[in-house]
């Protein structure tokens, strides 16, 4: 609080800021909020889109497989079911608040999956 003490120069401040930022960046390995905060209608919309998108992708793959292999109804039927399963998986991941991470596992159950 002494008046005659010289204030630290700006370059010094800059250097200290950089050091502090680097320390902070090292400590935290990119595990921030996993996804945007959602209101009720936002969540509803997101869940709907996730479910339908996966189903649509499944049916699309099924139709392509059918055209490629000539197995007319079967590819679509099987991939529709797989797509529905993927849709439910997406919804489960979306509502359990972990984004839509494929292959994500909650660190609390397991914990052996650190690579």
């Amino acid at each position: 609080m002494t008046e005659n003490e010289k204030p630290p120069s700006l370059s010094d401040l800059d250097a200290r800021l950089r050091r502090a930022r680097r320390r902070e960046a090292d400590e935290e390995p990119g595990k921030g909020p996993a996804g945007p905060p959602l209101s009720g209608i936002g969540l509803a919309f997101r869940v709907g889109v996730e479910l339908v998108a996966a189903m649509a992708v499944g049916v699309g793959i099924g139709l392509l497989v059918d055209r490629w292999l000539g197995t007319k109804p079967w590819g679509m039927a099987i991939f529709f079911l797989l797509g529905s399963a993927a849709g439910v998986l997406n919804v489960y991941r979306a509502v359990s608040g972990i984004g839509s991470a494929v292959g994500y596992r909650n660190p609390r159950d397991g914990g052996t999956d650190k690579e």
Partner: protein, 247 residues
């Protein structure tokens, strides 16, 4: 265009009109109103950032602080979701955010065109994101990246079932990413036009109620414009984090 919506339809605003017809072979590469607004968006972003940072004061003025805020916002988003490994990809994420944001905001001006309300545009952006992120994952981890699709702790007998499900789930990401942006923009702008149509139909006596509704909706659309640009970018960051860190 077999059946373009008539002039007074709420969907007329989404019609693509070629401004400079360009045909190469069978491909229609015309410069359309959609392309025009993309060029306008890019020009405005560039002007906003370069002119805002023209005088780099230590204590920023209003314009400079807006430019710095947008930078800080995206930088914080990348840092929180991807960590320091994501710093390399900041330019891409920032460009994506500003492009989508300015596209959404420009669309709110009367007589303008909202290019983010077309799934062709949002799907192209989303596919770019997913292909890029997958390439980043493969470049970072090599073939080990594909272990991403093998859920851990699952009995081997179930793997033939689980791997296709995970692959479909991964492939559905660009679909849901693009549908979310385009559907939000299209629904909001259609609603604005529907209520604006009521103003005309109800005339001077009854038109005030839908007019008030339109004012409120415009404010809401402003929120949606920011929110959807944010959602699009933050999901890009999350996908990038998955590819870099492979849970």
């Amino acid at each position: 265009m077999a059946a373009a919506p008539p002039e007074d339809s709420p969907l007329h605003q989404f019609v693509i009109q070629p401004l400079v017809p360009i045909h190469v072979g069978n491909a229609d590469l015309s410069f359309t109103n959609s392309s025009l607004f993309m060029v306008v968006a890019i020009t405005l972003v560039t002007l906003f950032l370069t002119l805002g940072m023209r005088r780099q004061n230590l204590v920023p003025g209003r314009w400079q602080s807006m430019a710095e805020m947008s930078y800080e916002f995206v930088a914080g988003m990348v840092r929180d979701n991807v960590g320091s490994a994501g710093r390399k990809y900041f330019p891409f994420v920032f460009t994506l955010f500003m492009f989508v944001l300015f596209g959404n905001l420009l669309g709110l001006l009367p007589y303008s065109f909202t290019f983010t309300s077309h799934i062709a545009v949002t799907a192209a952006l989303a596919v770019t994101v997913i292909v890029g992120v997958t390439l980043v994952g493969i470049a970072t981890h090599g073939l080990h990246f594909f272990s991403f699709f093998v859920p851990k702790g699952v009995p081997v007998a179930l793997l033939p079932l689980m791997i296709p499900i995970e692959v479909i789930s991964y492939l559905s990401r660009p679909v849901s990413l693009s549908i979310r942006l385009f559907a939000n923009m299209m629904a909001g702008h259609t609603m604005l036009k529907v209520f604006a149509g009521f103003v005309v139909l109800l005339g001077f006596l009854g038109g005030w109620a839908p007019l008030a509704m339109d004012v409120a909706l415009t404010a809401f659309e402003l929120l949606v414009a920011f929110l959807q640009a944010y959602v699009f970018t933050v999901l890009t960051c999350i996908y990038l984090n998955d590819a870099i860190h492979l849970h």
